[in-house]
């Protein structure tokens, strides 16, 4: 099991603080790195990948520093956002070159497996400069995966991919995470993160704003009422009963049912069935409606 650890890491450029006292541990599975533009996501990724030294703190992979330590690339693959590819090579040559530089025992076999993984086998003998952006991206992912790294860091990996390629990349990352690889990818598209990973690291203005499963993060935000969509056999009577409940701070009623704001998640979810049984009302739908990553992210930004 490979662990990536950041301990009290800061990075500044002159007077500008890009990353401020961040500590996080990445464990096997897929983690999304989220943050608005300029938040410091790429700086964090580059420090993890050994391409930036922290101004303060330590960045380690299995205890070894990532800075000035090429040995980490035996366990780490990187798909940087701005990294270019050698356009004069074919994808097959490019990925095989990666395999040779990793000194793999069967570079050709490893390259074929990596190309298959990203569905690039058919076009693998064309020069990379003739590829679309999405094909280049997949070629880079194949090169980063050729040595089957324990840790894979990807900066905006879905950029330039069409919807089918995105779905394929998402399932690829899922599969790698399920097989025990540690995957961290940054994205500014919340839907992508939501579909690929429940675990997020949210960076806002260089600081780690939240870390963990975003649904759990939402439940810990006790200062914000939780919003539930409720449908029942008698919405109006249920609304009257609910408003008397201490954990409920507001109820709205419309043709779609009830929108209930609860100040305490646990108390409300325990009280609701009790109230419904007491009133003889049948519950048809109960859905937390602000547990999406988008809601959590906007709450964190507003905080």
């Amino acid at each position: 099991m490979t662990t990536v650890e950041l301990e009290n890491v800061s990075r500044w450029y002159g007077n500008v603080v890009a990353v401020n006292d961040i500590s996080m541990t990445l464990e096997p599975g897929v983690t999304g790195l989220l943050g608005p533009n300029g938040a410091g996501k790429t700086t964090v990724l580059h420090m993890m990948a050994g391409f930036l030294s922290p101004s303060r703190g330590t960045v380690t992979i299995d205890g070894g520093s990532t800075w000035r330590n090429p040995a980490i690339y035996r366990r780490l693959g990187l798909v940087a956002e701005r990294e270019a590819v050698h356009g004069f090579l074919t994808a097959r040559e490019f990925v095989q070159a990666s395999a040779r530089m990793h000194k793999l025992s069967d570079p050709k076999g490893a390259a074929e497996r990596a190309l298959e993984l990203v569905e690039m086998t058919d076009a693998a003998d064309r020069r990379i400069e003739t590829y679309s952006k999405g094909m280049r991206q997949r070629t880079r992912v194949a090169a980063a995966l050729v040595h089957d790294p324990q840790v894979l860091l990807l900066d905006e990996p879905f950029n330039g991919m069409d919807p089918r390629q995105r779905m394929h990349m998402m399932s690829l990352l899922h599969g790698l995470g399920d097989r025990g690889h540690t995957i961290l990818f940054s994205s500014h598209i919340l839907e992508e993160v939501e579909q690929v990973s429940g675990t997020v690291q949210v960076i806002v203005a260089g600081r780690l704003a939240a870390s963990g499963d975003y649904r759990k993060i939402r439940r810990l935000m006790t200062n914000r009422p939780h919003v539930f969509a409720v449908q029942s056999s008698d919405d109006r009577r249920l609304a009257v009963a609910l408003i008397a409940e201490k954990s409920v701070s507001g109820v709205e009623i419309d043709h779609a049912g009830l929108t209930v704001r609860a100040s305490e998640y646990g108390s409300f979810t325990r009280a609701l069935p009790r109230i419904a049984i007491g009133e003889g009302i049948r519950l048809r739908k109960l859905l937390p409606s602000d547990e999406s990553l988008e809601s959590v992210f906007s709450y964190l930004l507003e905080a």
């Binding site: 790429t42 580059h46 391409f51 990187l78 270019a84 050698h86 090579l89 990666s98 530089m101």
Partner: protein, 236 residues
């Protein structure tokens, strides 16, 4: 050939920049052939063509194109990241790239200089110039490769060294000659084939020792610099 050297050579010959290597050797050999065809006395055309064009312009300019091309272009377009994300000692990367730069620079300079020396005087002078060109290609390539890691404008910095340091200060300020690769090259050629066409101004010992210091010192500094290669932390 290592994979890094193979990618470097493919990159070097795959860019239009490689065409810049052709005009100067053709000009040197063409001028020498012309002078020989018209029976011009070698003492008249030898110094300006062999030294003025061959050793002072052709050798450093070709080394500049190649020396900055093997690494600087990859740093510029970001392809260097593909090589740096491999568990390769940075020393191996620099050695491979320096090897390609020296090989290409030496062949492209030594062959026309040999031909020009042969036409001007003798095979011995041709050999002397060719050997000196190989030594010069080593020192220049290492220096220009280091420049491509130290500055974002290595070609400009290299031209300043060639034109201002060697071309201007080297002519008038004697102390600067100790740090002039051009002077080492002239001395080595003159030592192998003593002739009135070449005017050596530093001792052979200084030339050899300083050329070695340039190669080793610049290579070691480049390895250290590459170990600390950073990518800007731009955030999307």
């Amino acid at each position: 050939m290592s994979t890094v050297a193979w990618i470097t050579a493919r990159g070097l010959f795959g860019r239009r920049r490689v065409l810049l290597l052709l005009p100067l050797p053709l000009l040197l050999v063409g001028l020498a052939l012309l002078c020989r065809a018209y029976d011009v006395n070698p003492t008249e055309w030898g110094p300006p063509v062999l030294v003025g064009l061959g050793l002072a312009v052709l050798l450093p300019v070709i080394s500049l194109i190649v020396g900055t091309g093997v690494l600087g272009s990859e740093v510029d377009d970001g392809t260097i990241v593909h090589i740096l994300t491999k568990p390769l000692p940075r020393r191996d990367i620099i050695v491979a790239k320096l090897g390609v730069a020296i090989g290409v620079g030496a062949v492209t300079s030594a062959v026309p200089l040999f031909v020009a020396g042969l036409l001007a005087d003798s095979a011995r002078l041709g050999l002397g110039l060719a050997v000196a060109a190989v030594v010069g290609a080593c020192a220049y390539s290492a220096f220009f490769l280091l420049l491509s890691l130290l500055t974002k404008r290595p070609v400009l910095a290299g031209l300043v060294y060639i034109l201002v340091w060697e071309g201007l200060l080297g002519r008038f300020v004697s102390g600067t000659r100790v740090l002039s690769i051009e002077q080492y090259v002239i001395t080595i050629a003159d030592k192998i084939a003593p002739t009135a066409l070449l005017d050596a101004r530093v001792s052979p010992t200084v030339s050899i020792v300083m050329a070695a210091i340039f190669v080793v010192g610049c290579a070691v500094a480049a390895v250290d610099r590459l170990r600390s290669f950073s990518m800007a932390g731009e955030t999307s």
